[in-house]
Protein backbone atom coordinates (compact mmCIF):
# COMPACT_ATOMS: atom_id res chain seq x y z
CA UNK A 1 0.00 0.00 0.00
CA UNK A 2 2.79 2.34 0.85
CA UNK A 3 4.29 1.66 -2.53
CA UNK A 4 1.08 2.00 -4.51
CA UNK A 5 0.01 5.43 -3.25
CA UNK A 6 3.13 7.25 -4.45
CA UNK A 7 2.82 5.44 -7.76
CA UNK A 8 -0.74 6.64 -8.20
CA UNK A 9 0.40 10.07 -7.17
CA UNK A 10 3.14 9.88 -9.78
CA UNK A 11 0.62 8.87 -12.37
CA UNK A 12 -1.68 11.72 -11.47
CA UNK A 13 1.17 14.16 -11.72
CA UNK A 14 2.14 12.63 -15.01
CA UNK A 15 -1.42 12.71 -16.25
CA UNK A 16 -1.56 16.32 -15.25
CA UNK A 17 1.64 17.02 -17.17
CA UNK A 18 0.37 15.15 -20.20
CA UNK A 19 -3.20 16.32 -20.08
CA UNK A 20 -2.59 20.00 -20.63
CA UNK A 21 -0.28 19.71 -23.68
CA UNK A 22 -2.53 17.04 -25.14
CA UNK A 23 -5.76 19.00 -24.78
CA UNK A 24 -4.06 22.22 -25.88
CA UNK A 25 -2.62 20.54 -28.97
CA UNK A 26 -5.94 18.97 -29.93
CA UNK A 27 -7.71 22.28 -29.36
CA UNK A 28 -5.22 24.21 -31.49
CA UNK A 29 -5.25 21.56 -34.22
CA UNK A 30 -9.07 21.50 -34.25
CA UNK A 31 -9.47 25.27 -34.49
CA UNK A 32 -6.72 25.44 -37.10
CA UNK A 33 -8.28 22.60 -39.11
CA UNK A 34 -11.70 24.25 -39.11
CA UNK A 35 -10.15 27.45 -40.45
CA UNK A 36 -8.07 25.46 -42.93
CA UNK A 37 -11.15 23.55 -44.12
CA UNK A 38 -13.21 26.61 -44.98
CA UNK A 39 -10.49 28.89 -46.30
CA UNK A 40 -8.56 26.07 -47.94
CA UNK A 41 -11.55 24.81 -49.92
CA UNK A 42 -12.38 28.34 -51.10
CA UNK A 43 -8.77 28.96 -52.11
CA UNK A 44 -8.54 25.55 -53.80
CA UNK A 45 -11.78 26.21 -55.73
CA UNK A 46 -10.48 29.57 -56.93
CA UNK A 47 -7.16 28.06 -57.96
CA UNK A 48 -8.88 25.22 -59.76
CA UNK A 49 -11.58 27.20 -61.54
CA UNK A 50 -10.41 30.77 -61.96
CA UNK A 51 -7.70 32.32 -64.01
CA UNK A 52 -6.52 35.68 -62.81
CA UNK A 53 -3.41 37.78 -63.06
CA UNK A 54 -0.79 36.82 -60.56
CA UNK A 55 -2.42 33.49 -59.80
CA UNK A 56 0.86 31.64 -60.00
CA UNK A 57 2.39 34.03 -57.49
CA UNK A 58 -0.48 33.54 -55.04
CA UNK A 59 -0.29 29.77 -55.52
CA UNK A 60 3.40 29.92 -54.78
CA UNK A 61 2.83 31.95 -51.63
CA UNK A 62 0.24 29.52 -50.30
CA UNK A 63 2.42 26.50 -51.08
CA UNK A 64 5.66 28.00 -49.79
CA UNK A 65 5.22 26.93 -46.13
CA UNK A 66 5.44 23.32 -47.33
CA UNK A 67 9.11 23.72 -48.16
CA UNK A 68 10.31 26.62 -46.04
CA UNK A 69 12.11 25.74 -42.79
CA UNK A 70 9.69 26.18 -39.86
CA UNK A 71 11.99 28.77 -38.31
CA UNK A 72 11.75 30.88 -41.46
CA UNK A 73 7.97 30.66 -41.36
CA UNK A 74 8.04 31.52 -37.67
CA UNK A 75 10.27 34.49 -38.31
CA UNK A 76 8.07 35.78 -41.12
CA UNK A 77 4.96 35.31 -38.97
CA UNK A 78 6.57 37.23 -36.12
CA UNK A 79 7.24 40.07 -38.53
CA UNK A 80 3.62 39.91 -39.69
CA UNK A 81 1.68 39.47 -36.43
CA UNK A 82 4.23 40.69 -33.87
CA UNK A 83 3.55 43.80 -31.91
CA UNK A 84 5.10 45.98 -34.63
CA UNK A 85 3.96 43.91 -37.56
CA UNK A 86 1.27 45.04 -39.93
CA UNK A 87 -1.37 42.54 -38.79
CA UNK A 88 -0.12 42.56 -35.20
CA UNK A 89 -0.63 46.27 -35.04
CA UNK A 90 -4.17 45.98 -36.34
CA UNK A 91 -4.93 43.25 -33.82
CA UNK A 92 -3.48 45.28 -30.98
CA UNK A 93 -5.47 48.36 -31.93
CA UNK A 94 -8.64 46.34 -32.24
CA UNK A 95 -8.43 44.01 -29.24
CA UNK A 96 -6.12 46.02 -27.03
CA UNK A 97 -3.86 43.01 -26.63
CA UNK A 98 -1.22 41.31 -28.69
CA UNK A 99 -1.45 37.84 -30.16
CA UNK A 100 2.17 36.79 -29.54
CA UNK A 101 2.71 34.08 -26.89
CA UNK A 102 -0.94 33.03 -26.75
CA UNK A 103 -2.66 29.86 -27.94
CA UNK A 104 -4.10 31.93 -30.79
CA UNK A 105 -0.53 32.49 -31.99
CA UNK A 106 -0.09 28.72 -32.03
CA UNK A 107 -3.25 28.45 -34.15
CA UNK A 108 -1.82 31.00 -36.60
CA UNK A 109 1.38 28.97 -36.87
CA UNK A 110 -0.46 25.68 -37.29
CA UNK A 111 -2.84 27.23 -39.84
CA UNK A 112 0.00 28.60 -41.94
CA UNK A 113 1.90 25.35 -42.19
CA UNK A 114 -1.12 23.10 -42.74
CA UNK A 115 -3.07 25.25 -45.23
CA UNK A 116 -0.97 24.21 -48.26
CA UNK A 117 -1.69 20.54 -47.59
CA UNK A 118 -5.41 21.22 -47.70
CA UNK A 119 -5.22 23.47 -50.74
CA UNK A 120 -3.16 21.01 -52.74
CA UNK A 121 -5.33 18.02 -51.94
CA UNK A 122 -8.60 19.90 -52.51
CA UNK A 123 -7.39 21.64 -55.66
CA UNK A 124 -6.38 18.35 -57.25
CA UNK A 125 -9.76 16.87 -56.32
CA UNK A 126 -11.72 19.83 -57.66
CA UNK A 127 -9.72 19.90 -60.89
CA UNK A 128 -10.63 16.26 -61.37
CA UNK A 129 -14.35 17.06 -61.36
CA UNK A 130 -15.66 17.11 -64.94
CA UNK A 131 -16.35 20.73 -65.90
CA UNK A 132 -19.25 19.60 -68.03
CA UNK A 133 -21.04 18.50 -64.87
CA UNK A 134 -20.78 22.07 -63.65
CA UNK A 135 -21.96 23.47 -66.98
CA UNK A 136 -24.86 21.03 -66.88
CA UNK A 137 -25.84 22.47 -63.49
CA UNK A 138 -25.50 26.07 -64.74
CA UNK A 139 -27.73 25.19 -67.68
CA UNK A 140 -30.26 23.78 -65.22
CA UNK A 141 -30.33 27.25 -63.68
CA UNK A 142 -27.97 26.75 -60.77
CA UNK A 143 -25.64 29.58 -59.81
CA UNK A 144 -21.93 29.02 -59.47
CA UNK A 145 -22.08 28.88 -55.68
CA UNK A 146 -25.02 26.46 -55.72
CA UNK A 147 -23.19 24.33 -58.24
CA UNK A 148 -20.04 24.30 -56.14
CA UNK A 149 -22.03 23.24 -53.06
CA UNK A 150 -24.31 20.75 -54.85
CA UNK A 151 -21.97 19.24 -57.41
CA UNK A 152 -18.31 20.18 -57.32
CA UNK A 153 -17.47 19.91 -53.63
CA UNK A 154 -19.49 16.75 -52.96
CA UNK A 155 -17.68 15.12 -55.87
CA UNK A 156 -14.34 16.36 -54.55
CA UNK A 157 -15.04 15.35 -50.97
CA UNK A 158 -12.53 12.53 -50.98
CA UNK A 159 -9.64 14.87 -51.65
CA UNK A 160 -11.02 17.47 -49.27
CA UNK A 161 -11.31 14.98 -46.42
CA UNK A 162 -7.85 13.62 -47.13
CA UNK A 163 -6.53 17.18 -47.06
CA UNK A 164 -8.35 17.82 -43.80
CA UNK A 165 -6.83 14.81 -42.06
CA UNK A 166 -3.35 15.68 -43.32
CA UNK A 167 -3.79 19.28 -42.18
CA UNK A 168 -4.92 18.14 -38.77
CA UNK A 169 -1.93 15.83 -38.41
CA UNK A 170 0.41 18.56 -39.54
CA UNK A 171 -1.12 20.99 -37.03
CA UNK A 172 -0.72 18.45 -34.21
CA UNK A 173 2.96 18.04 -35.02
CA UNK A 174 3.77 21.72 -35.56
CA UNK A 175 6.87 22.78 -33.62
CA UNK A 176 9.25 25.39 -35.03
CA UNK A 177 6.95 28.20 -36.06
CA UNK A 178 4.85 27.65 -32.93
CA UNK A 179 7.86 27.94 -30.69
CA UNK A 180 8.86 31.25 -32.27
CA UNK A 181 5.36 32.68 -32.31
CA UNK A 182 3.76 31.28 -29.15
CA UNK A 183 6.80 30.41 -27.12
CA UNK A 184 6.94 27.70 -24.52
CA UNK A 185 4.91 28.99 -21.62
CA UNK A 186 3.93 26.11 -19.30
CA UNK A 187 0.20 25.96 -18.80
CA UNK A 188 -0.35 28.37 -21.66
CA UNK A 189 1.41 27.50 -24.91
CA UNK A 190 3.29 24.29 -24.22
CA UNK A 191 1.91 22.05 -26.96
CA UNK A 192 2.79 18.36 -27.24
CA UNK A 193 5.77 18.66 -29.52
CA UNK A 194 7.13 21.57 -27.51
CA UNK A 195 6.62 19.67 -24.26
CA UNK A 196 8.53 16.72 -25.68
CA UNK A 197 11.41 19.01 -26.41
CA UNK A 198 11.32 20.56 -22.91
CA UNK A 199 10.98 17.19 -21.17
CA UNK A 200 13.89 15.83 -23.16
CA UNK A 201 15.99 18.88 -22.35
CA UNK A 202 15.11 18.57 -18.67
CA UNK A 203 15.96 14.87 -18.67
CA UNK A 204 12.36 13.83 -17.94
CA UNK A 205 12.47 10.78 -20.16
CA UNK A 206 9.29 9.25 -18.82
CA UNK A 207 7.19 12.27 -19.77
CA UNK A 208 8.94 12.60 -23.13
CA UNK A 209 8.27 8.93 -23.91
CA UNK A 210 4.62 9.15 -22.95
CA UNK A 211 4.10 12.21 -25.14
CA UNK A 212 6.00 10.61 -28.01
CA UNK A 213 3.79 7.51 -27.85
CA UNK A 214 0.62 9.61 -27.84
CA UNK A 215 1.81 11.66 -30.80
CA UNK A 216 2.71 8.55 -32.77
CA UNK A 217 -0.73 7.16 -32.00
CA UNK A 218 -2.48 10.32 -33.22
CA UNK A 219 -0.41 10.31 -36.42
CA UNK A 220 -1.13 6.64 -37.10
CA UNK A 221 -4.82 7.30 -36.58
CA UNK A 222 -4.67 10.19 -39.03
CA UNK A 223 -2.92 8.11 -41.69
CA UNK A 224 -5.30 5.20 -41.36
CA UNK A 225 -8.25 7.59 -41.52
CA UNK A 226 -6.89 9.10 -44.73
CA UNK A 227 -6.48 5.64 -46.18
CA UNK A 228 -10.03 4.85 -45.14
CA UNK A 229 -11.43 7.97 -46.82
CA UNK A 230 -9.56 7.38 -50.00
CA UNK A 231 -10.65 3.78 -50.13
CA UNK A 232 -14.20 4.19 -48.93
CA UNK A 233 -15.52 7.28 -50.59
CA UNK A 234 -15.32 5.98 -54.10
CA UNK A 235 -18.45 7.19 -55.78
Amino acid sequence: MNQIIPKIKDMIIMLDKVWFPLSLTLWIATISSILVLFSGVVIAYIFARRDFRGRELVELLVTLPLILPPTVIGYLLVILVGRNGFLGNLIYNFFGTGVMFTWQAAVIAAYTVSLPLMVRAAQAAIEAVDRELEYAAYILGRSEIETALLITLPLAKRGILAGLVLSFARAVGEFGATLMLAGNIPGKTNTMSISIYSAFQAGNDELAQTLVIILIFISLLAISLTGRFIGKLEV
Partner: protein, 379 residues
Protein backbone atom coordinates in the same frame (compact mmCIF):
# COMPACT_ATOMS: atom_id res chain seq x y z
CA UNK B 1 -41.80 30.46 -81.95
CA UNK B 2 -38.72 30.66 -84.04
CA UNK B 3 -35.05 30.46 -83.45
CA UNK B 4 -32.62 32.80 -85.12
CA UNK B 5 -28.94 32.12 -84.95
CA UNK B 6 -26.31 34.20 -86.62
CA UNK B 7 -22.92 34.06 -85.07
CA UNK B 8 -19.23 34.44 -85.58
CA UNK B 9 -16.54 33.31 -83.26
CA UNK B 10 -12.79 33.22 -83.62
CA UNK B 11 -12.15 30.16 -81.56
CA UNK B 12 -8.79 29.54 -79.96
CA UNK B 13 -8.78 26.25 -78.21
CA UNK B 14 -6.18 26.23 -75.48
CA UNK B 15 -5.50 23.63 -72.89
CA UNK B 16 -6.44 24.87 -69.45
CA UNK B 17 -3.62 23.10 -67.69
CA UNK B 18 -0.22 24.56 -67.22
CA UNK B 19 1.20 22.40 -69.93
CA UNK B 20 2.33 24.20 -73.02
CA UNK B 21 -0.90 25.27 -74.54
CA UNK B 22 -1.65 23.82 -77.92
CA UNK B 23 -3.42 26.43 -79.95
CA UNK B 24 -5.72 25.49 -82.69
CA UNK B 25 -7.78 28.26 -84.05
CA UNK B 26 -10.70 28.27 -86.36
CA UNK B 27 -13.59 30.49 -87.16
CA UNK B 28 -17.11 29.42 -86.39
CA UNK B 29 -19.43 31.13 -88.84
CA UNK B 30 -23.01 29.93 -88.77
CA UNK B 31 -26.30 31.52 -89.61
CA UNK B 32 -29.73 29.93 -89.84
CA UNK B 33 -33.33 30.21 -88.71
CA UNK B 34 -35.64 27.46 -87.59
CA UNK B 35 -39.18 26.91 -86.36
CA UNK B 36 -40.48 24.30 -83.94
CA UNK B 37 -38.72 21.53 -85.76
CA UNK B 38 -35.85 19.14 -85.50
CA UNK B 39 -32.68 20.41 -87.09
CA UNK B 40 -29.71 18.10 -87.36
CA UNK B 41 -26.23 19.59 -87.26
CA UNK B 42 -24.24 17.32 -89.48
CA UNK B 43 -20.53 17.37 -90.11
CA UNK B 44 -17.30 15.52 -89.52
CA UNK B 45 -15.68 15.69 -86.09
CA UNK B 46 -13.88 18.96 -85.58
CA UNK B 47 -16.32 20.87 -87.75
CA UNK B 48 -17.55 23.00 -84.85
CA UNK B 49 -20.83 21.31 -83.99
CA UNK B 50 -20.21 21.11 -80.26
CA UNK B 51 -18.64 24.57 -80.27
CA UNK B 52 -21.83 25.91 -81.79
CA UNK B 53 -23.79 24.34 -78.92
CA UNK B 54 -21.43 25.89 -76.40
CA UNK B 55 -22.02 29.29 -77.99
CA UNK B 56 -25.79 28.88 -77.96
CA UNK B 57 -25.80 27.75 -74.34
CA UNK B 58 -23.44 30.52 -73.24
CA UNK B 59 -20.59 28.29 -72.08
CA UNK B 60 -18.41 29.96 -74.70
CA UNK B 61 -18.58 33.67 -75.34
CA UNK B 62 -19.21 34.98 -78.81
CA UNK B 63 -17.43 37.61 -80.84
CA UNK B 64 -20.27 38.73 -83.03
CA UNK B 65 -23.82 38.00 -83.97
CA UNK B 66 -27.22 37.25 -82.54
CA UNK B 67 -28.93 34.34 -80.86
CA UNK B 68 -32.66 34.65 -80.45
CA UNK B 69 -34.88 31.85 -79.17
CA UNK B 70 -38.58 32.60 -79.27
CA UNK B 71 -38.98 36.04 -77.81
CA UNK B 72 -35.84 35.80 -75.74
CA UNK B 73 -32.61 37.37 -76.89
CA UNK B 74 -29.73 35.23 -75.64
CA UNK B 75 -27.04 37.27 -77.27
CA UNK B 76 -26.90 40.40 -79.34
CA UNK B 77 -23.58 42.04 -79.90
CA UNK B 78 -25.05 45.32 -81.11
CA UNK B 79 -27.46 45.68 -78.23
CA UNK B 80 -24.84 44.40 -75.81
CA UNK B 81 -27.07 41.59 -74.57
CA UNK B 82 -25.42 38.47 -73.25
CA UNK B 83 -27.67 36.39 -71.00
CA UNK B 84 -25.92 34.27 -68.40
CA UNK B 85 -26.03 30.49 -68.88
CA UNK B 86 -28.51 30.20 -66.02
CA UNK B 87 -31.03 32.60 -67.60
CA UNK B 88 -31.07 31.08 -71.08
CA UNK B 89 -33.54 28.35 -70.21
CA UNK B 90 -32.42 25.70 -72.61
CA UNK B 91 -32.14 21.96 -72.35
CA UNK B 92 -28.73 20.52 -73.14
CA UNK B 93 -27.86 16.84 -73.25
CA UNK B 94 -24.10 16.43 -73.38
CA UNK B 95 -22.41 13.71 -75.33
CA UNK B 96 -21.51 11.82 -72.15
CA UNK B 97 -24.86 12.61 -70.47
CA UNK B 98 -23.23 14.42 -67.49
CA UNK B 99 -25.59 12.90 -64.96
CA UNK B 100 -24.53 13.88 -61.46
CA UNK B 101 -22.98 10.65 -60.18
CA UNK B 102 -23.71 11.31 -56.50
CA UNK B 103 -27.43 11.92 -57.02
CA UNK B 104 -30.10 9.39 -57.87
CA UNK B 105 -32.33 9.79 -60.91
CA UNK B 106 -34.99 11.76 -59.01
CA UNK B 107 -32.44 14.17 -57.55
CA UNK B 108 -30.84 14.62 -60.95
CA UNK B 109 -34.16 15.63 -62.45
CA UNK B 110 -35.05 17.85 -59.49
CA UNK B 111 -31.78 19.73 -59.89
CA UNK B 112 -33.29 21.81 -62.68
CA UNK B 113 -36.46 22.61 -60.72
CA UNK B 114 -35.02 25.27 -58.49
CA UNK B 115 -37.63 27.41 -56.82
CA UNK B 116 -40.57 25.15 -57.73
CA UNK B 117 -43.20 24.45 -55.11
CA UNK B 118 -42.74 21.07 -53.51
CA UNK B 119 -45.92 19.59 -54.98
CA UNK B 120 -45.34 21.00 -58.45
CA UNK B 121 -41.81 19.65 -58.34
CA UNK B 122 -43.01 16.21 -57.33
CA UNK B 123 -45.56 16.23 -60.13
CA UNK B 124 -43.09 17.40 -62.75
CA UNK B 125 -40.58 14.69 -61.84
CA UNK B 126 -43.27 12.02 -62.19
CA UNK B 127 -44.37 13.54 -65.50
CA UNK B 128 -40.84 13.39 -66.85
CA UNK B 129 -40.31 9.85 -65.58
CA UNK B 130 -43.42 8.63 -67.35
CA UNK B 131 -42.79 10.69 -70.50
CA UNK B 132 -39.52 8.84 -70.98
CA UNK B 133 -40.76 5.53 -69.55
CA UNK B 134 -38.20 5.42 -66.77
CA UNK B 135 -40.54 5.35 -63.74
CA UNK B 136 -38.80 2.33 -62.31
CA UNK B 137 -35.39 4.04 -62.33
CA UNK B 138 -36.38 6.81 -59.93
CA UNK B 139 -34.12 5.74 -57.07
CA UNK B 140 -31.19 4.39 -59.04
CA UNK B 141 -27.82 6.05 -59.26
CA UNK B 142 -26.23 6.81 -62.64
CA UNK B 143 -23.64 4.07 -62.16
CA UNK B 144 -26.50 1.57 -61.98
CA UNK B 145 -27.94 2.57 -65.36
CA UNK B 146 -27.27 1.29 -68.87
CA UNK B 147 -26.25 3.67 -71.65
CA UNK B 148 -29.76 3.91 -73.04
CA UNK B 149 -31.23 4.52 -69.60
CA UNK B 150 -28.70 7.25 -68.84
CA UNK B 151 -29.68 8.79 -72.13
CA UNK B 152 -33.32 8.91 -71.16
CA UNK B 153 -32.59 10.25 -67.69
CA UNK B 154 -30.45 12.99 -69.22
CA UNK B 155 -33.34 13.85 -71.52
CA UNK B 156 -35.80 13.88 -68.64
CA UNK B 157 -33.53 16.17 -66.66
CA UNK B 158 -33.05 18.53 -69.59
CA UNK B 159 -36.78 18.71 -70.31
CA UNK B 160 -38.02 19.05 -66.72
CA UNK B 161 -37.52 22.84 -66.40
CA UNK B 162 -39.59 23.39 -69.59
CA UNK B 163 -36.79 24.68 -71.78
CA UNK B 164 -37.49 26.77 -74.86
CA UNK B 165 -35.01 24.89 -77.00
CA UNK B 166 -33.36 21.49 -76.69
CA UNK B 167 -29.74 20.83 -77.67
CA UNK B 168 -28.68 17.20 -78.10
CA UNK B 169 -24.99 16.55 -78.62
CA UNK B 170 -24.49 13.14 -80.28
CA UNK B 171 -26.83 11.59 -77.75
CA UNK B 172 -26.57 8.14 -79.30
CA UNK B 173 -22.88 7.93 -79.98
CA UNK B 174 -22.21 5.46 -77.18
CA UNK B 175 -25.19 3.21 -77.85
CA UNK B 176 -25.74 0.02 -79.79
CA UNK B 177 -27.16 0.30 -83.25
CA UNK B 178 -30.47 -1.25 -82.29
CA UNK B 179 -31.09 1.07 -79.33
CA UNK B 180 -29.98 4.00 -81.46
CA UNK B 181 -32.64 3.44 -84.05
CA UNK B 182 -35.31 3.00 -81.39
CA UNK B 183 -34.28 6.09 -79.46
CA UNK B 184 -34.11 8.12 -82.65
CA UNK B 185 -37.77 7.31 -83.27
CA UNK B 186 -38.45 8.31 -79.68
CA UNK B 187 -36.70 11.66 -80.09
CA UNK B 188 -38.73 12.48 -83.17
CA UNK B 189 -41.85 11.56 -81.32
CA UNK B 190 -40.80 13.61 -78.33
CA UNK B 191 -40.08 16.66 -80.44
CA UNK B 192 -43.60 16.74 -81.79
CA UNK B 193 -44.98 16.11 -78.31
CA UNK B 194 -43.14 18.89 -76.52
CA UNK B 195 -43.25 21.24 -79.47
CA UNK B 196 -40.00 23.07 -79.00
CA UNK B 197 -37.14 23.51 -81.44
CA UNK B 198 -34.60 20.71 -81.18
CA UNK B 199 -31.03 20.85 -82.41
CA UNK B 200 -29.37 17.48 -82.78
CA UNK B 201 -25.68 16.88 -83.42
CA UNK B 202 -24.52 13.82 -85.26
CA UNK B 203 -21.83 12.73 -87.66
CA UNK B 204 -23.83 9.68 -88.58
CA UNK B 205 -25.46 10.13 -91.96
CA UNK B 206 -28.27 7.65 -91.48
CA UNK B 207 -29.20 9.17 -88.14
CA UNK B 208 -29.24 12.62 -89.70
CA UNK B 209 -31.64 11.52 -92.42
CA UNK B 210 -33.80 9.49 -90.08
CA UNK B 211 -34.40 12.39 -87.73
CA UNK B 212 -34.10 15.66 -89.52
CA UNK B 213 -36.77 18.06 -90.61
CA UNK B 214 -33.84 20.12 -91.81
CA UNK B 215 -30.12 19.51 -91.90
CA UNK B 216 -27.41 22.09 -91.32
CA UNK B 217 -24.14 20.89 -92.79
CA UNK B 218 -21.03 22.18 -91.05
CA UNK B 219 -17.51 21.92 -92.33
CA UNK B 220 -14.50 23.51 -90.65
CA UNK B 221 -16.64 25.87 -88.64
CA UNK B 222 -18.66 27.14 -91.57
CA UNK B 223 -22.25 26.40 -92.39
CA UNK B 224 -22.15 24.84 -95.85
CA UNK B 225 -25.81 24.25 -96.51
CA UNK B 226 -29.12 24.37 -94.69
CA UNK B 227 -32.06 22.49 -96.10
CA UNK B 228 -34.32 19.47 -96.04
CA UNK B 229 -32.69 16.04 -96.20
CA UNK B 230 -33.74 15.72 -99.85
CA UNK B 231 -32.16 19.05 -100.73
CA UNK B 232 -28.94 18.09 -98.99
CA UNK B 233 -28.82 14.68 -100.62
CA UNK B 234 -29.82 15.60 -104.18
CA UNK B 235 -28.82 19.23 -104.40
CA UNK B 236 -25.63 19.62 -102.39
CA UNK B 237 -24.32 23.11 -102.80
CA UNK B 238 -20.64 22.29 -102.83
CA UNK B 239 -18.00 19.62 -102.74
CA UNK B 240 -17.91 19.39 -98.92
CA UNK B 241 -21.62 18.70 -98.68
CA UNK B 242 -21.50 16.23 -101.56
CA UNK B 243 -18.67 14.30 -99.97
CA UNK B 244 -20.29 14.36 -96.54
CA UNK B 245 -23.49 12.76 -97.82
CA UNK B 246 -21.42 9.98 -99.33
CA UNK B 247 -21.28 11.01 -102.98
CA UNK B 248 -17.97 9.63 -104.09
CA UNK B 249 -18.06 9.73 -107.89
CA UNK B 250 -17.26 13.38 -108.36
CA UNK B 251 -15.95 15.06 -111.52
CA UNK B 252 -15.10 18.70 -111.86
CA UNK B 253 -14.73 19.04 -115.62
CA UNK B 254 -18.29 19.79 -116.70
CA UNK B 255 -20.12 22.85 -117.99
CA UNK B 256 -23.80 23.51 -118.55
CA UNK B 257 -24.65 22.99 -122.18
CA UNK B 258 -28.33 23.81 -122.09
CA UNK B 259 -31.14 24.47 -119.69
CA UNK B 260 -34.56 22.97 -120.20
CA UNK B 261 -37.22 25.04 -118.44
CA UNK B 262 -39.96 22.59 -119.22
CA UNK B 263 -38.49 19.52 -117.59
CA UNK B 264 -36.66 21.62 -115.02
CA UNK B 265 -33.39 20.03 -115.93
CA UNK B 266 -30.05 20.88 -117.48
CA UNK B 267 -27.69 19.05 -119.78
CA UNK B 268 -24.09 18.82 -118.68
CA UNK B 269 -21.15 18.20 -120.92
CA UNK B 270 -18.34 16.39 -119.19
CA UNK B 271 -15.64 15.54 -121.74
CA UNK B 272 -17.45 13.43 -124.31
CA UNK B 273 -20.27 12.66 -121.91
CA UNK B 274 -23.70 14.28 -122.08
CA UNK B 275 -25.61 14.09 -118.86
CA UNK B 276 -29.07 15.28 -117.92
CA UNK B 277 -29.48 16.55 -114.35
CA UNK B 278 -32.66 17.57 -112.58
CA UNK B 279 -31.86 21.04 -111.31
CA UNK B 280 -32.59 24.65 -112.14
CA UNK B 281 -29.74 26.27 -110.34
CA UNK B 282 -27.46 26.94 -113.27
CA UNK B 283 -27.18 28.99 -116.43
CA UNK B 284 -25.75 27.74 -119.71
CA UNK B 285 -21.98 28.03 -119.68
CA UNK B 286 -21.59 27.66 -115.90
CA UNK B 287 -18.67 25.52 -114.87
CA UNK B 288 -19.93 22.85 -112.50
CA UNK B 289 -18.91 19.63 -110.78
CA UNK B 290 -21.16 16.62 -110.89
CA UNK B 291 -21.35 13.40 -109.00
CA UNK B 292 -23.51 10.47 -108.04
CA UNK B 293 -23.82 8.34 -104.94
CA UNK B 294 -22.44 4.81 -105.47
CA UNK B 295 -25.80 3.34 -104.45
CA UNK B 296 -27.64 5.32 -107.11
CA UNK B 297 -25.88 3.77 -110.08
CA UNK B 298 -28.03 1.12 -111.73
CA UNK B 299 -26.41 -1.57 -113.81
CA UNK B 300 -28.24 -3.02 -116.82
CA UNK B 301 -27.39 -5.82 -119.18
CA UNK B 302 -26.41 -4.63 -122.65
CA UNK B 303 -29.36 -6.01 -124.56
CA UNK B 304 -31.96 -3.95 -126.38
CA UNK B 305 -31.20 -0.72 -124.51
CA UNK B 306 -28.26 0.58 -126.38
CA UNK B 307 -26.30 3.47 -125.08
CA UNK B 308 -27.60 6.07 -127.46
CA UNK B 309 -31.26 5.37 -127.00
CA UNK B 310 -31.37 6.09 -123.36
CA UNK B 311 -30.44 9.28 -121.69
CA UNK B 312 -27.83 9.04 -118.92
CA UNK B 313 -27.06 5.43 -119.81
CA UNK B 314 -23.53 4.51 -120.74
CA UNK B 315 -21.47 1.49 -121.62
CA UNK B 316 -19.11 0.53 -118.84
CA UNK B 317 -16.47 -2.10 -118.31
CA UNK B 318 -16.31 -3.81 -114.94
CA UNK B 319 -12.83 -3.49 -113.47
CA UNK B 320 -13.29 -5.37 -110.26
CA UNK B 321 -15.89 -6.47 -107.74
CA UNK B 322 -15.38 -6.26 -104.01
CA UNK B 323 -17.64 -8.22 -101.72
CA UNK B 324 -19.08 -6.06 -98.94
CA UNK B 325 -21.68 -8.45 -97.55
CA UNK B 326 -25.18 -7.58 -98.73
CA UNK B 327 -23.67 -5.11 -101.20
CA UNK B 328 -20.93 -5.45 -103.75
CA UNK B 329 -18.70 -2.55 -104.63
CA UNK B 330 -17.99 -2.51 -108.33
CA UNK B 331 -15.39 -0.33 -110.03
CA UNK B 332 -16.45 0.64 -113.54
CA UNK B 333 -14.75 2.38 -116.44
CA UNK B 334 -16.91 4.42 -118.75
CA UNK B 335 -16.03 3.07 -122.18
CA UNK B 336 -16.57 6.39 -123.93
CA UNK B 337 -14.24 8.60 -121.90
CA UNK B 338 -12.31 6.42 -119.47
CA UNK B 339 -13.83 7.96 -116.33
CA UNK B 340 -13.92 5.61 -113.38
CA UNK B 341 -17.05 5.15 -111.26
CA UNK B 342 -17.73 3.09 -108.18
CA UNK B 343 -21.14 1.56 -107.70
CA UNK B 344 -22.65 -0.23 -104.71
CA UNK B 345 -24.95 -2.87 -106.07
CA UNK B 346 -27.01 -5.48 -104.18
CA UNK B 347 -25.04 -8.72 -104.09
CA UNK B 348 -28.06 -10.67 -105.20
CA UNK B 349 -28.30 -8.61 -108.36
CA UNK B 350 -24.63 -9.08 -109.22
CA UNK B 351 -24.87 -12.81 -108.62
CA UNK B 352 -28.03 -13.30 -110.65
CA UNK B 353 -26.59 -11.42 -113.63
CA UNK B 354 -23.34 -13.34 -113.22
CA UNK B 355 -21.27 -10.20 -113.56
CA UNK B 356 -17.50 -10.59 -113.63
CA UNK B 357 -14.51 -8.36 -113.99
CA UNK B 358 -13.94 -7.50 -117.64
CA UNK B 359 -17.63 -7.70 -118.60
CA UNK B 360 -19.26 -4.87 -120.49
CA UNK B 361 -22.65 -3.66 -119.34
CA UNK B 362 -24.70 -0.49 -119.09
CA UNK B 363 -24.75 1.94 -116.19
CA UNK B 364 -27.74 4.19 -115.74
CA UNK B 365 -27.22 7.43 -113.88
CA UNK B 366 -30.77 8.41 -112.95
CA UNK B 367 -31.15 12.11 -113.71
CA UNK B 368 -32.89 12.90 -110.42
CA UNK B 369 -30.01 11.27 -108.56
CA UNK B 370 -27.12 12.97 -110.32
CA UNK B 371 -26.01 16.04 -108.40
CA UNK B 372 -24.39 19.16 -109.78
CA UNK B 373 -22.76 21.92 -107.82
CA UNK B 374 -20.29 24.75 -108.12
CA UNK B 375 -16.71 23.71 -107.72
CA UNK B 376 -15.92 26.04 -104.87
CA UNK B 377 -18.03 26.58 -101.78
CA UNK B 378 -20.37 29.50 -102.33
CA UNK B 379 -19.06 32.26 -100.14
Amino acid sequence: MGVKIDLKKQYNETNLGRKKSVKKSFVLDVSFEMENELVVLFGPSGSGKTTLFKCISGITDLDEGKIIVGNKVYFDKEKKINLSIQKRNLGYVFQNYTLFPHMNVRKNIECGLKGWEKEAKEKRVLEMLSLLHIDELENRYPSQLSGGQKQRVALARALAPKPEILLLDEPFSALDLEIRTRLAEKIKDLQSKIGIPVLFITHNLEEAFQLADKILVLYEGKAQQFGTPEEILYHPENLHVAELVGISNIFDDAYVKECDEESKSIVLKSESLSLRVKTQRFKPGDKVSWGIHPENITLLLPDSNSENQNENTYSVRINNIINKGPKKRITLTLVRCGKILTADVPAQFVDSLKLHAGDICLAKLEMTKVVAFCELPLS
